[in-house]
């Protein structure tokens, strides 16, 4: 019983995270990447 519920929880989480990535990669990836390419010196307070 416990193994079945664990399997279901994992599948639900897996599908949710895949949906998050698939659904938002187009709209959010550029901003995420910009933090790495345009160095976020102000983030750490030295720019």
């Amino acid at each position: 019983m416990r193994s079945h519920s664990l399997l279901i929880i994992r599948l639900v989480l897996l599908l949710a995270f895949i949906a998050f990535v698939a659904g938002f990669v187009v709209s959010q990836y550029d901003y995420v990447r910009s933090l790495v390419t345009v160095l976020c010196l102000s983030c750490i307070g030295i720019g």
Partner: protein
């Protein structure tokens, strides 16, 4: 296994710094603690991302999805085997070689890192600034100090000294307490720790073989106190020291979808 773990940690440190080649600055959120303000960073820091999205008043679905997939697969294995800041702590702890126990003995307090995570995001949301990043010792070591030597935009101001101070305090604590950051303060460890009970990779104890000698608990860097907790507590970094120490061969890594 410990040699393999050292090797993996150094390899991941190298991969995290592949961003010195511009095209390899892929910017995918990484499942460990490494500052994306490092001049050579290839990945984005999830904690920095969560704060930046709190400032934007948006939900970082993409970053949550990526980190969630990493966490669901391996849980805090990333902390024990991949995290560059974990590697720093392991290297610092070498100075007390021959003395495996902590110089300063602290009880296990699992909730503090969750409080750090919540406070870091809440402060970013309220102050509209990445305040946690400004005192983060990983940011000090991997970003502020390297930037001091390579960046023309560098400001040799107050926060540089704040970074030096927090790093100095952190390094002293790492000498006194093994994996202090991972055990008590790491917000990334808090995020990944949530996945330990459901991750596919686990450290399993076979209680039919276990002699209850508790050698595994005595070597545990996370200071887990009960054999039953090894499987799913939020503190286990899957470092494998318990597996190495078990004379009964009762502890193993296990990967299963159903268990």
């Amino acid at each position: 296994m410990s040699k393999l773990r050292w090797a993996v940690q150094f390899i991941v440190l190298g991969i995290a710094n592949l961003g010195f080649i511009q095209v390899l600055k892929i910017g995918v959120p990484c499942p460990f603690f490494y500052c994306h303000a490092c001049p050579a960073a290839a990945f984005a820091c999830p904690i920095g991302l969560l704060q930046n999205y709190a400032i934007l008043q948006q939900v970082p679905f993409y970053a949550l999805g990526v980190v969630g997939l990493f966490g669901l697969a391996l849980g805090r294995f990333w902390c024990g085997w991949a995290c560059p800041f974990g590697l720093v702590q392991d290297l610092v702890s070498l100075v007390r070689r021959g003395r495996p126990r902590d110089i300063l003995r602290l009880p296990r307090v699992a909730w503090v890192k969750f409080a750090v995570l919540v406070v870091a995001i809440f402060l970013a949301w309220i102050a509209l600034d990445t305040l946690f990043c400004k005192i983060c010792p990983a940011g000090s070591l991997f970003a502020a100090i390297p930037q001091r030597f390579v960046s023309t935009e560098f400001s040799f101001g107050t926060f540089f000294y704040v970074h030096l101070a927090t790093l100095a305090v952190a390094l002293v604590l790492f000498v006194l307490v093994g994996r202090f950051w991972c055990r008590f303060l790491c917000p990334m460890g808090a995020v990944l720790g949530l996945f330990n009970p459901v991750s596919i990779l686990k450290v399993r104890v076979d209680f039919d073989k276990c002699s209850r000698c508790e050698d595994c608990l005595s070597v545990c860097p996370a200071k887990i106190e009960k054999l039953e907790d090894i499987d799913s507590c939020t503190d286990c970094t899957r470092c494998g020291k318990c597996i190495e120490s078990c004379a009964s061969d009762a502890i193993k890594f296990s990967a299963s979808l159903k268990r």
